[in-house]
Symmetry: C2
Subunit: 288 residues, 2 copies
């Protein structure tokens, strides 16, 4: 079985590593517009060969793991190029636009729109981890638009890799993911920015930082090339979550300014229920 | 050697566990206004006995690990009660007020104002971890006000436990810690609140949360009883950090609303230097 990985970074590379484990006979070729990444992926044994345009027609499965602006641009012509029986899976963090650009494509039934909720703050093939997807949620959008046989093939693969499946429409996906993923990244980036700005004059400040700071600011290490197009494609939802987040921060600040310490206590106590909620989130052992 | 731990929760309990390791002959008594915590600490072997008022006069070292409002209230009378040679160490996350309330105390020289930068989002004696303080920074304020022999004793103990020492004045401590600790907690609490508010109607949302959300929201599990008085005592600094943080979030939101994606990219790229900065932060293996 020939499998193509387009984009051999953290997401594509980790998927390739899991494929090698569950399908030891698969022949995995990689494609990447960064020749260094392709070379590294070959050296690390993540892929077996570098693919050519003609490889796509022969592939049984193609996994598209590139930034969401590039994915939206490339997917229609990719579908033109692949074989009639090829399954094309994407892994983008936004789903409305990608589903829209192929909605009338003659090969729409070859495509399955996915968002595996997995990753780390690192990027590139060296960041690829075997087992990254184990126990993680994979959100599939508009499943009914994928050919039934290709659905079966994809679900069998996801099940072997150990992913949990959830079905959602693209609009609901984009709205909810803005809260539990996109907002976290912005809050983390802006926290990092606020502290770095202060640090310009006060270099000692980071010597005082503990694991709490490290944890809240971890996502500020993430790739701008990956995240800028995500925020662009999900702008309306992200603007709304940011409005609500800023409003909550303003309200907290006002309570503190007014010396309403009972109010401050209650805000935190109410939010403590996140403890119970978080117990339900599957975590990769390597990241926990 | 008799050692007293006042407050046998996460901070006091972890300190007791490290003491047992580096001073196996020490007799550790605990005091806590929560009888359940005292009972649990005894059962877990964190302390050897429950202390009485009279125990304090005989103690060589007393470690005060209670919420900062209680610490400010209790420290003067604690100093009245301890022996002439007793070393009293606190572990509060704010340092200005506690230093101020004992500045003219006849036993000021028995006291060392400390802030070990260590902890987790959990609390109580069951959260106490051996090795929590290993490799962590301990900030000592107004060291010159502690008797020289007691300084020596404290530094020897901290060195055996494996802590790095930094000296600072209380005002600088409170200003800087607002950025690298207090602000992180508020950003995390408000992130949790924003998502929980949305979740009222959309229970599915947490099924979509990954380890990135878990990481940024981890501190929202923290104890309101511990954090409310910290924010109260460090109000001016926390208000200032919140003002700057909200301003940065507003600016990011405006860039996104204006479709200034180059600006968004640059904001994230500039903040990526947090990668280098974080490499310098010592992390507890158990939390990393």
């Amino acid at each position: 079985m020939k499998i193509g990985i387009i984009g051999v970074g953290l997401i594509g590379g980790s998927f390739a590593r899991d494929l090698k484990r569950v399908l030891p006979d698969a022949e995995i070729f990689g494609m990447d517009n960064n020749p260094d990444h392709l070379k590294t992926a070959l050296e690390l044994g993540i892929i077996d060969s570098a693919g050519k345009g003609s490889s796509l027609a022969e592939a049984e499965i193609v996994f598209l793991a590139i930034p969401v602006d590039a994915a939206v641009r490339e997917l229609p012509s990719l579908l033109n190029t692949v074989g009639d029986e090829t399954l094309v899976i994407d892994a983008g963090s936004t789903k409305s636009l990608i589903c829209a650009v192929v909605s009338n494509h003659p090969k729409r039934r070859n495509f399955m729109a996915c968002h595996p909720i997995a990753g780390t703050e690192f990027s590139g093939p060296r960041a690829a981890l075997e087992g990254l997807y184990e126990g993680k949620t994979n959100i599939i959008c508009e499943v009914e638009k994928t050919a039934f046989k290709l659905q079966e093939k994809a679900l069998d693969l996801f099940s072997r890799i150990g992913m949990r499946i959830r079905y959602m429409n693209p609009e609901a996906h984009d709205k909810h993911i803005a809260y539990v993923s996109h907002l976290s990244h912005i809050s983390s980036f802006m926290l990092g920015k606020t502290v770095i700005e202060k640090e310009k004059n006060e270099r000692d400040i980071f010597d005082m930082a503990g694991s709490g700071f490290e944890s809240t600011v971890r996502l500020a290490k993430s790739s701008p090339a990956m995240w800028t197009p995500i925020f662009e494609q999900n702008r309306e939802n992200v603007l709304e979550t940011l409005r609500e987040y800023i409003q909550n921060l303003e309200a907290f600040r006002k309570k503190l300014a007014d010396d309403d310490m009972e109010g401050i206590y209650r805000e935190m106590e109410d939010t403590n229920k996140i403890r119970e909620i978080l117990k339900g989130i599957p975590l990769n052992k390597k990241e926990a």
